[in-house]
C-alpha cells in the first residue's frame, strides 16, 4: 500500500512538524530553567509593546513601530502614486527626473537613507514665521517613506500599464483630459491590481521600522536595548525571540492576506 500525498497535505505536514518541533523545544527548554527567563520577558512585555512598564499610556515600543509604519505608508502611497504616474508622463521634463529619483531611491540601502535623513533634515524649519519642528519620529517617517514610495511607484506603474490601451482610447474619444482619465478611468481599475503589491510592501516596511532605532525614537528595539542593560546575558535570547515573534505575528497575516488577494485578482479581467 502506498500513500499518495497531495502538495497541500505535504505542506500542512511540514508546517505541522515545524510547529510541533518549536513547541517541543520550548517545553524542554522551559523545564531546563527557561521558564524563569520567559517570566522575565512576561514582566517586560508591556514595556516592549507600549513603552511603559504599566502598559499605559502608550509612549513607544512596538505600538510606535506600527504607528511609524502606518504614517510612512500613508506618505509613501501619496508620493509613490505621483512618482509612478510621473514616470509614465509624456513630457520628458517630468518623466526623466521621476525616473532618476525612483531608481536612485530604489537602489539605496534603507539604513543609509535613514541616516541621511537624520543629518540632511534640519531640526526645524521656519516658513513665514511658522515654526515646523522635525522631531526624530518625523525624520524616521520621511526616511522610511522615501524608499517605500520608490518601490510603490513601480507597483503603480505596473498596474497602470496593465490597463488595456482601449480604455485610454475610449476615454480620450469621450473628451477626457489626461488627469481626468487617471482619476475616473485608470486609477480606479489600477487600484484593485495594486492592493496585493501595496500590502506586501507594507509588510516589508513594518519589518524595516526596526531600523528607525538609529534615529533614537523609543521604538521596540531601542527599548529592548536600554532595558536589556539590566538583564542577564542568558535572557537576551528570550527577549529577541519575543521581539521577532511580535513582528512575525503582525506581518505574516498581512502577507497571507496579500497572497490570497493576489490569487483572487489574477484571471479577473477587471
Amino acid at each position: 500500500m502506498t500513500f499518495e500525498l497531495s502538495y497541500d497535505s505535504k505542506k500542512r505536514l511540514v508546517i505541522g512538524g515545524v510547529l510541533v518541533a518549536v513547541a517541543g523545544w520550548i517545553m524542554v527548554d522551559a523545564m531546563a530553567g527557561g521558564a524563569e527567563h520567559w517570566g522575565r520577558v512576561l514582566v517586560r512585555l508591556p514595556l516592549l509593546l507600549t513603552g511603559q512598564g504599566d502598559g499605559w499610556p502608550i509612549t513607544g515600543g512596538f505600538a510606535l513601530n506600527i504607528l511609524l509604519s502606518i504614517a510612512s505608508m500613508a506618505m509613501a502611497t501619496v508620493l509613490g502614486t505621483l512618482l509612478g504616474i510621473s514616470t509614465l508622463a509624456q513630457s520628458p521634463y517630468l518623466r526623466l527626473p521621476a525616473f532618476f529619483i525612483m531608481n536612485f531611491l530604489r537602489n539605496s540601502p534603507w539604513l543609509v537613507l535613514l541616516f541621511a535623513m537624520l543629518f540632511i533634515l534640519p531640526f526645524q524649519v521656519e516658513i513665514f514665521g511658522l515654526r515646523i519642528p522635525f522631531p526624530p519620529f518625523v525624520k524616521a517617517v520621511i526616511g522610511l517613506a522615501l524608499p517605500t514610495a520608490a518601490n510603490l511607484s513601480e507597483v503603480v506603474r505596473g498596474a497602470v500599464q496593465s490597463i488595456h490601451s482601449g480604455q485610454w482610447e475610449a476615454a480620450r474619444a469621450l473628451g477626457y483630459t489626461t488627469p481626468q482619465i487617471y482619476r475616473h478611468v485608470i486609477l480606479p481599475q489600477a487600484l484593485r491590481r495594486m492592493i496585493p503589491g501595496w500590502m506586501n510592501l507594507y509588510a516589508l516596511l513594518t519589518i524595516a521600522t526596526a531600523l528607525a532605532t538609529v534615529t533614537g525614537i523609543q521604538d521596540v528595539l531601542t527599548i529592548l536595548n536600554t532595558s536589556l542593560a539590566m538583564e542577564s546575558e542568558r535572557v537576551l535570547v528570550y527577549f529577541y525571540l519575543t521581539t521577532l515573534f511580535l513582528f512575525f505575528a503582525y506581518c505574516y497575516p498581512i502577507a497571507i492576506f496579500a497572497r490570497r488577494l493576489e490569487r483572487a485578482v489574477k484571471g479577473d479581467n477587471i
Binding site: H164, G166, Q167, E169, A170, A171, R172, A173, L174, G175, Y176, T177, T178, Q180, H184, V185, P188, Q189, R192, N269, I270
Partner: protein, 248 residues
C-alpha cells in the same frame, strides 16, 4: 458637391507609424446626414482614418476639418474637447469601463466632461438604454453582459454625448454571428434618424443596405468612392474587383 458645404472634409492626409506609411494621401468629404462605409483589406488604413478624424491620432501632413474644427491644428486634449463633443466613436473591443455599470458608463462623460446636470443626464441615459433595447440592464456591469449587449451600451455611451457624427470602427468584428444582427439593427436606426455616420466594416451586405456611399481603401489610398449599388455591382478598379471577389 462643393467642399465648403461638407460636414467633414479630409484633404490629402498622410500618416506614418515609424517607417511604415499607413495613409498615403487620403481625401474624403462627408455631408451632414450621410452614412459612409469604408471597406478594404486589413492594414489598408481604414481604422487609422477614423482615429485621425477625431484627433486620436495626429496626422503628419494634410488637412482635416470637422464642422468648424480644424483637427490638424488642435494640439492638446483640452483643445480637442469641443471636437470630441461633436464626434463620438464606437470601438471594435467596446472599451466600456469595467468598474462602472452600464448606466454609469453612459452617464460619466456627459457629467464629467460636458458638465451637464446629473438628473437630466440620467434621464437621457435611461432613454438611450431603452433605445438600444437594454432598459433592464442599467445596473449590470460590462463583465455580466454579452458582447452584443456591451457593444450596444457602447453605442448608447457614444450617443449620450449628443454628437453630430459617430465613427464606428469594425464594431461587429469581435461579436458572435447571432449578436451581430442586433448591433447592426441599432446602427441602422441611427442612420435612419439622420445621424452622420462613418463606418469601417467587413459586413458587405450591411454596407450595401445602409450606406449612402462606400469607399474602398487599399494600401493607404481610397481606390474607389461610389454609391453602394455602383461600387458593388460595377466596380471600376481592378483592385476593388479582386477584393470583392474574395469577400462576396
Amino acid at each position: 458637391m462643393k467642399r465648403s458645404e461638407a460636414l467633414i472634409e479630409i484633404d490629402n492626409i498622410h500618416k506614418s507609424f515609424g517607417n511604415f506609411e499607413v495613409l498615403k494621401g487620403i481625401s474624403l468629404s462627408v455631408n451632414e446626414g450621410e452614412a459612409v462605409c469604408i471597406i478594404g483589406p486589413s492594414g489598408s488604413g481604414k481604422s487609422t482614418v477614423l482615429r485621425c478624424i477625431n484627433g486620436l491620432l495626429p496626422i503628419d501632413e494634410g488637412y482635416i476639418r470637422v464642422g468648424k474644427h480644424r483637427v490638424h491644428e488642435l494640439r492638446s486634449e483640452k483643445e480637442m474637447r469641443p471636437l470630441r463633443h461633436q464626434v463620438s466613436m464606437v470601438f471594435q473591443q467596446y472599451n466600456l469601463f469595467p468598474h462602472k455599470t452600464a448606466l454609469e458608463n453612459i452617464m460619466m462623460a456627459p457629467i464629467q466632461v460636458l458638465g451637464h446636470e446629473r438628473a437630466e443626464v440620467e434621464d437621457r441615459a435611461r432613454k438611450l438604454l431603452e433605445k438600444v433595447r437594454l432598459g433592464n440592464k442599467a445596473d449590470s456591469y460590462p463583465g455580466m453582459l454579452s458582447g452584443g449587449q456591451q457593444q450596444r451600451v457602447a453605442i448608447a455611451r457614444a450617443l449620450a454625448m449628443q454628437p453630430e457624427i459617430i465613427l464606428f470602427d469594425e464594431v461587429t468584428a469581435a461579436l458572435d454571428p447571432e449578436t451581430v444582427k442586433e448591433v447592426l439593427l441599432t446602427i441602422r436606426e441611427l442612420v435612419d434618424d439622420g445621424l452622420t455616420c462613418i463606418l469601417v466594416t467587413h459586413e458587405m451586405k450591411f454596407a450595401r443596405e445602409v450606406a449612402d456611399r462606400v469607399c474602398f481603401t487599399d494600401r493607404g489610398l481610397i481606390v474607389e468612392n461610389a454609391p453602394p449599388a455602383e461600387l458593388f455591382d460595377t466596380p471600376q478598379d481592378p483592385r476593388t474587383r479582386e477584393f470583392l471577389g474574395q469577400v462576396l
